[in-house]
């Protein structure tokens, strides 16, 4: 082929300048085949100053590259054009440059300055593209330049440039591995990046450069989990795979208790009472050396990972689905793994390559967790149109799924497969039947009968395969089936497949006592055809002869001699060896000595039946979904999936917000911390809610006390935990026990409130509310203090000296909690209504009770307690929207209304009959001279989803009087107008109320941390940012707050920086969070950022607030 010859030239490294090596290529297709000329005119075209000519030349050159031909001699001519103005020419030059720079290093350097200039360009896309090409040029001399460029780009303003920097890291690493240390620094920096654009790329770089530096992930773990859903698909795959490995090193096996239980179950299944006793003992024993083996509580970070990856099972990208599936398979508690089955079965509808990979993985999974796929059994049924490799894999899965209950269906299905035209597949089916028969005793005879029937099949391959499988089955219970052996003996006349013949001979020899008459006859026939047989058959003939000689020497002595003599002169040395060996053993001579006495024992020993195993057994020690798993061999660069640790490493390393925490990692206290973990992480506001995987959770151990304290309020929480408390075993170490109880009590104290209020809300909201509550509590302290509180809280439980103190704290806390049961119900109610603004509900009563506590409790506790009881009372009215500034709108003008005028305003009070409605306060003024009667609403016309609660009819409005009424409108979070008719006893007026977007929300209270966290979750398309110049009268904080709160019903969020004002609220109908930030800069410049899940609302809010701040 001409193509390959050209290629070889290139490989030879000859820069064959001017050689006419392209001219003689007749096969080249496309645009340049027709007018293909020598390079000289290409060079000419490149040197011309017409862009179109340059472009034409570059297109030809790129096409040459695409066809794998050498175009390296054009390098000088091409590289000149690197600074060309035409974008397409430039791009094609880049393509060329990247391809040939390695071969023409010196010349390539000419282009570097262009890229260096590009790196400084104000346009982010040009910066990125310059970095991309620069880093793709594999020239070692420029390593320092690349390093510098990457470092600079890593701190670029634009996330896109940072992403490119992440991409450049592995390129530089492969060029010069010595840069590793420096590159790791860059990776560390980029890992901390908070944008979704960068996350996938930097993790990819991490995997290529330093997958062993798992410690770099700690700090970014939670962020990666939270960003995951918004990262692009390919990044998701890389991140999920990496996090799987990470989780394996950091968390405890969620199935460690269950695996023990499982063993137990197996035993009871087989056995008697004795067994059970034994088992119990065993369990006790196994517990003794493992004092650690306490009830398992899942680390909240572990839970966070599982929760955040689950939605990705719905991805359209098969690789993402597979990545999540393997994560669940390797990390999730057994009961939860099931969710992946459905998604994997879905992938079976995809391209055949996808099916192939998925089925391989499913086959591995079915061995360990059969139950998971059993409901989808039928999805693995085979169609005649499937490719053979898919059929065989499906068969494997079906075989793995077979059990006593479904075996009859499966066998019926197998029966149809045997009739298939695809003989390889039929052979595989027969093997599958054999495996089902060995695994499930009940159907062994049925299978055997079926297989025996196949012996009369016309296709020899089928018969041969059946023979081999039957042989294996017969080994299990030969005495019952001498007739089958006889039948098979007859087959030797017809069947030619060596493996099958060998199998038959072996069977006859092995069980010759069952077929005493036939066996010698078979040997006779075989002796006749010995010389024409295949080697494996010959070996079995010798074996048969030896066994018959030992059992029935009278009849077969001569035959055996004959066979051995034939074998002695065989061409194959194995056969000659075997013959010599056997002769020595069975024919006693003087030399033969002691061994021949045992010949019978040697040959006729009982052989164990073979175990038919799946080829996929134990494949799951490779990470599923990986190339290594597919090949069942370690691929280069494969990172082993580590085993679960015996004890979980310090979980606090993942805490991000307070740096001091990481310093104190006293190892001996780890266990205790483990218990406390959920407690902290709540307060930290980073991780998910506490969850205990099994009923034997820690919280259960303290539940009696806990529920006693919390009393009726605890509701669901205590119920849940009490289930476990019965089965709870005694703790051996009392001290330990006590501590646990205390910890759980702390938890209990918090839990009930948290859970009772979240009954109808989603998990996440629960979290948020909980945090909100805390934040209110903290309000009483100053900002900086609350941060310290967290510190002290954590330290107190970590350091030993403070332990006793914390004990005391708990007791006090308990007392405190008991002393104020009434405050809780009140709060609960109010929460349900979502009416934080209802000031009437909150008498300042609880505060005097708590203030004294403050004096002798540690700050942390005080905040906790406040969180429980008086949070809402502490709210300062200042945070509420200023009611005085309510803007009123005209609904009906006095002239149109014939004397009746109506104004309305959004009162920003919760509308009590329905929390999802916005309260609209209407003021009716009768300017006419006569009285107006029966003022009411009619014919409400609304957009779908909207609802209205009418105001009560005003029966009489005397002339000159004014009346007010409140109506509620559920605007469904849209600014659509509500149209209706206002009726008096004489007239009807068409009116409409359109809300400004700022009125569609109600304020909520967040702490700074919560705000940041929520904001972090509402990045990407949910974030809107706008620069603005503040109005002259609005350059101080107070003015900003006032204007923003006037424009939108938001509440202020405390903020550490005085350059920023933050506001938070939720939309009234759907409760979506609305976050607004005004960051002031030099002069009057400022930036407004709004984060809201509802983008329409976000956009409109930005407009409105912008207007408010600039005018």
């Amino acid at each position: 082929m001409s193509a390959s010859s050209a290629f070889n030239d290139e490989k030879g490294g000859s820069s064959s300048v001017g050689e006419p090596e392209y001219g003689h290529d007749p096969a080249s297709g496309g645009i340049f085949s027709s007018d293909y000329k020598r390079h000289d005119d290409l060079k000419e075209m490149l040197d011309s100053n017409k862009d179109s000519l340059k472009l034409e030349a570059m297109k030809r050159i790129v096409a040459m590259i695409a066809r794998g031909k050498n175009a390296s001699d054009l390098f000088p001519a091409v590289v000149k054009n690197v600074a060309c103005k035409n974008i397409e020419v430039k791009k094609l030059v880049y393509v060329y440059l990247v391809r040939y720079a390695e071969e023409q290093q010196d010349l390539a350097l000419l282009s570097i300055s262009t890229f260096q200039r590009g790196l400084k360009d104000p346009n982010q896309l040009i910066r990125a593209s310059a970095l991309r090409v620069l880093s793709s040029i594999r020239v070692t001399i420029i390593v320092p330049i690349m390093m510098l460029a990457i470092k600079e780009a890593a701190s670029d303003m634009s996330p896109y440039v940072r992403k490119t920097a992440a991409h450049a890291i592995p390129k530089l690493y492969s060029l010069d591995p010595e840069q590793k240390d420096q590159l790791i620094e860059v990776i560390e920096k980029l890992l901390a990046d908070k944008t979704t654009l960068v996350a996938g790329s930097v993790v990819m770089a991490f995997e290529e450069v330093c997958p062993e530096r798992i410690d770099l992930i700690h700090k970014n773990y939670r962020k990666l989990c939270n960003l995951l859903i918004d990262v692009e698909e390919w990044g998701q795959v890389v991140i999920i795979n990496m996090l799987t490995r990470y989780a394996r090193t950091q968390f405890l096996n969620p199935n460690m208790n269950e695996s023990l239980l499982e063993e137990g179950n197996d035993k009871t299944f087989y056995g008697s009472d004795d067994d059970e006793d034994e088992e119990e003992e065993e369990e006790k024993k196994s517990e003794a050396p493992m004092p650690k083996r306490k009830p398992y509580v899942m680390d909240p970070d572990h839970r966070l990972l599982l929760r955040n990856t689950k939605p990705l099972l719905q991805s359209r990208n098969a690789a993402v689905v597979m990545a999540v599936a393997q994560l669940y398979f390797h990390l999730a508690p057994k009961v939860e793994v099931g969710v992946i089955a459905k998604a994997l079965v879905r992938l079976l509808r995809s391209h055949s390559e996808v099916q192939y990979v998925v089925l391989q993985n499913v086959a591995s999974m079915t061995i360990k967790r059969r139950g998971m796929f059993e409901p989808y059994l039928k999805s693995f049924y085979i169609r005649s149109t499937d490719p053979t490799q898919i059929k065989v894999l499906k068969l494997e899965v079906l075989t793995n799924l077979a059990n006593e209950t479904n075996i009859s269906t499966i066998l019926r299905e197998f029966q149809t497969y045997i009739k298939s035209m695809d003989k390889d597949f039929v052979a595989a089916t027969i093997q599958a039947i054999g495996r089902c028969a060995t695994n499930i005793g009940e159907v062994r005879d049925t299978c055997l009968n079926g297989l025996v029937q196949l012996l009369s099949n016309r296709d020899e391959l089928v018969v041969a395969e059946s023979v081999v499988v039957i042989k294996k089955l017969l080994q299990m219970q030969p005495e019952k089936h001498s007739d089958i052996i006889k039948h098979m003996a007859k087959l030797t006349d017809n069947i030619q497949v060596p493996m099958a013949r060998a199998s038959i001979l072996w069977l006859i020899g092995e069980y010759c006592e069952h077929v005493p008459k036939i066996a010698p006859d078979v040997l006779r026939k075989m002796a006749k055809s010995f010389t024409n047989e295949e080697d494996i058959v010959k070996l079995q003939i010798i074996n048969l002869a030896a066994k018959l000689y030992l059992t029935n020497s009278k009849q077969t002595k001569l035959l055996t001699q004959y066979v051995l003599n034939l074998a002695k002169y065989d061409q194959n040395y194995d056969i000659r060896d075997r013959a010599r060996f056997i002769r020595q053993l069975i024919v006693p001579t003087e030399k033969s000595g002691a061994l021949s006495k045992y010949a019978k024992k040697l040959f006729l020993a009982l052989k164990p039946a073979p175990v038919l195993e799946s080829p996929f057994k134990d494949r799951d020690h490779f990470q599923l979904g990986s190339l290594s798993h597919l090949l069942n061999a370690k691929a280069g660069g494969y990172q082993e999936l580590p085993d679960w640790p015996e004890a979980a490493p310090d979980p606090s390393v993942r805490n991000v917000e307070v740096p001091e925490w990481t310093k104190c990692s006293s190892r001996e206290k780890r266990k205790e911390k483990k218990v406390e973990k959920p407690f902290y992480s709540d307060s930290e506001g980073e991780s998910g809610p506490t969850e205990s995987a099994d009923s034997e959770s820690d919280s259960a151990s303290g539940s009696e006390i806990g529920s006693g304290v919390v009393g009726s309020v605890s509701g669901t929480a205590s119920e849940e935990s009490e289930e476990g408390s019965e089965s709870e075993e005694e703790e051996e170490e009392e001290e330990e026990d006590e501590k646990d109880k205390k910890m759980t009590m702390k938890k209990e104290l918090k839990k009930p409130v948290q859970e009772s209020e979240s009954e109808q809300s989603s998990e996440e909201e629960e979290e948020r509310k909980h945090e909100r509550k805390k934040s209110k509590a903290r309000k009483s302290d100053s900002e900086s203090e609350s941060d310290e509180d967290e510190d002290s809280e954590s330290e107190s439980s970590q350091s030993e000296s403070e332990d006793s103190e914390s004990e005391a704290e708990v007791k006090k806390k308990k007392k405190a909690a008991q002393s104020k049961p009434p405050s809780k119900p009140v709060k609960k109610e109010s929460k349900k209504e979502m009416s934080l603004l209802d000031l009437d509900d909150f008498e300042p009563a609880p505060s005097p009770q708590v203030t004294p506590l403050n004096s002798f409790l540690s700050n942390s506790l005080a905040t906790d307690l406040e969180g429980l009881s008086l949070s809402d009372a502490v709210l300062s009215p200042a945070t509420l929207s200023p009611c005085s500034a309510l803007k009123s709108y005209e609904l009906l003008h006095r002239i149109r209304g014939e004397g009746l005028s109506v104004e309305y305003c959004f009162s920003r009070q919760p509308f009590s009959p329905d929390a999802n409605m916005v309260a609209v306060q209407m003021q009716f003024t009768n300017n006419a001279t006569s009285e107006t009667k029966n003022l009411h609403m009619e014919e409400v016309k609304l957009q779908s989803g909207m609802r209205v609660k009418e105001f009560p009819e005003i029966e009489l409005l005397p002339a000159g009087e004014t009346a007010t009424a409140v109506m509620g409108i559920d605007f469904c979070d849209s600014t659509q107008a509500a149209n209706f008719q206002l009726c008096t006893h004489t007239r009807k007026f068409f009116v409409s109320i359109q809300p400004p977007v700022g009125e569609l929300m109600r304020p909520v209270f967040l702490t700074e941390n919560e705000f940041k966290k929520e904001q972090g979750q509402l990045m990407g398309m949910n974030e809107l940012s706008e620069k603005l110049t503040l109005d002259a009268e609005c350059r101080n904080e107070h003015a900003i707050v006032q204007r923003v709160t006037a424009a939108a019903n938001l509440s202020r969020v405390p903020c550490g920086s005085d350059r920023e004002c933050r506001f938070a609220g939720r939309t009234v109908t759907s409760g979506s969070l609305v976050l607004a930030t005004v960051a002031t800069k030099e002069e009057a410049a400022a930036q407004l950022t709004v984060n809201c899940e509802k983008m329409v609302i976000g956009t409109m809010l930005v407009k409105d607030v912008l207007l408010a701040l600039t005018q």
Binding site: M1, A3, G29, G30, I31, S52, L55, V62, G68, E88, L92, V95, E102, L125, S136, P159, Y160, T164, H167, A168, K171, T196, S201, D230, E232, E233, W234, P311, Q314, S315, R316, A318, A319, V321, M322, K342, R349, H351, S352, V354, K378, R383, S384, P387, T388, Q389, K419, R458, G625, S626, L627, G636, G637, Q639, S762, S944, S974, M1019, E1023, V1096
Partner: protein, 418 residues
């Protein structure tokens, strides 16, 4: 990750190669050719091959092999999915994905590949972003380009990659704003000899064609979302909204895309639209067999069954077929041993029947294997599962778009065993 890509046609010629890292000799493809020789069918070539220094991951699309070379551990599905995405992109750009079309557009192809991967890691795979970077060729533009020397490469720098919704182009403008949705359901079924259903399920897909100005935010809701058992979405769909409200809320990509795939829950019995009465038998003596097939309507939801077609893979021994069809035409493709009976519209009054003699190779034994029937059909204006879109709402833009939903039911892998 992905080191190199080779495009190989059916006869085994490498007609395009692209390397993202250092160059790999195309002799590496010899391992693939070896495996291809062994396999009877191109579908049977293992997608993943191990060679001494590399791993070859291949997908087969439209008579072409996309062979990628990988040197280190990488999830195979990652590569496979990406290669299919490349093929999809070619399809999207050039209308088809064939050797000739790729050769004709080799520069565009090369530019695309350059943008899609950086150092072997996917960079821009969204069609909307790519189209901003590299304009798809049209006849008009190629004429203009040759005259003016302007290029296919977008002269404005793309912003799609920077945005947080990479699947949508910025500044979309249309004079006619329209959003069309096709609900397409496929019945996968295996019926046994006697006509009883061994296995049946419904898989559906919603294909969208959205041409709307600006940044519309759409919400699509169903009358009966409970039918949906398992779903997968285009990344634009907000998963949380689906979880909580069972509605699809999304900012659509511009143009055609697959909005969601779904699987109808298996609790609902699947309506099988046709029944098949068949007998195919081969005589014990004499080189022939008999074939008799009748198809009739079963549960068609009151609609006509169209484009009905039966495909039978015959045993190797069958030489020819001498049949009479009461409706439609039949052809017997001898080299592939495939009998195709194209029926067309199913008339319930006069059921189509195909009957006649199959002649076998002289001397060949009676085939033991029975061929299975693959049925293809289409029913317009109905989704067999009963799924219905209740409404489509648009937020964020002021104009009123044209909206439309179409339902079609097709046979997926619909097989009757004999």
């Amino acid at each position: 990750m992905i080191h190199s890509l080779f495009l190989i046609n059916h006869s085994g010629d490498i007609f395009l190669e692209k390397h993202w890292k250092s160059v790999i000799s195309h002799s590496v493809c010899d391992y693939f050719f070896e495996a291809k020789e062994k396999a009877v069918d191109p579908e049977d070539v293992p997608p993943v091959l191990q060679t001494p220094h590399h791993y070859l991951i291949t997908v087969h699309r439209g008579k072409l092999f996309f062979l990628s070379v990988v040197q280190t551990e990488v999830p195979p599905l990652f590569v496979i999915e990406f290669l299919h995405r490349v093929a999809d992109t070619f399809q999207d750009y050039f209308g088809e994905c064939s050797e000739s079309v790729i050769k004709d557009n080799v520069v565009t192809v090369y530019e695309l590949l350059e943008e899609m991967l950086d150092n072997g890691f996917p960079l821009a795979t969204e069609s909307n972003v790519l189209k901003e970077l590299i304009r798809p060729p049209t006849i008009l533009r190629s004429v203009v380009n040759t005259l003016t020397g302007s290029s296919n490469v977008g002269d404005t720098l793309p912003t799609g990659q920077l945005s947080t919704i990479p699947w949508r182009r910025a500044d979309v403008k249309y004079t006619n704003n329209e959003a069309y949705f096709d609900v397409i359901e496929e019945i996968d079924a295996i019926l046994d000899k006697s006509g009883t259903t061994v296995f049946a399920e419904i898989q559906g897909v919603i294909e969208a064609s959205v041409r709307l100005t600006g940044m519309p935010d759409l919400t699509l809701s169903f009358m009966n979302p409970r039918l949906l058992d398992d779903v997968s979405f285009h990344p634009c769909v907000r998963f949380k909204r689906w979880e909580s409200e069972r509605t699809l809320s999304f900012i659509p990509p511009d143009g055609n895309f697959t909005l969601m795939n779904y699987h109808v829950s298996s609790q609902n019995p699947v309506a099988i639209p046709v029944y098949v009465k068949q007998s195919i038998s081969f005589f014990e003596s004499g080189p022939c067999g008999r074939l008799d097939i009748t198809i009739g309507p079963k549960q068609t939801m009151g609609k006509t069954v169209e484009a009905l077609m039966v495909k039978i893979h015959m045993p190797k021994a069958v030489l020819s077929a001498n049949l009479t069809a009461t409706q439609g035409n039949y052809t017997y493709d001898l080299p592939n041993k495939v009998l195709v009976w194209d029926i067309g519209k199913l008339n319930p009054q006069k059921l189509p029947n195909l009957k006649g003699i199959l002649s076998l190779q002289a001397g060949a034994p009676k085939p033991e294997d029975n061929p299975s029937l693959n049925i293809d059909l289409r029913i317009q204006q109905v989704a067999i599962s009963g799924l219905k879109v209740s409404r489509l709402e648009m937020f964020g833009e002021k104009y009123k778009p044209f909206k439309g939903v179409k339902y079609v039911t097709k046979a997926g892998k619909f097989q009757v065993r004999t």
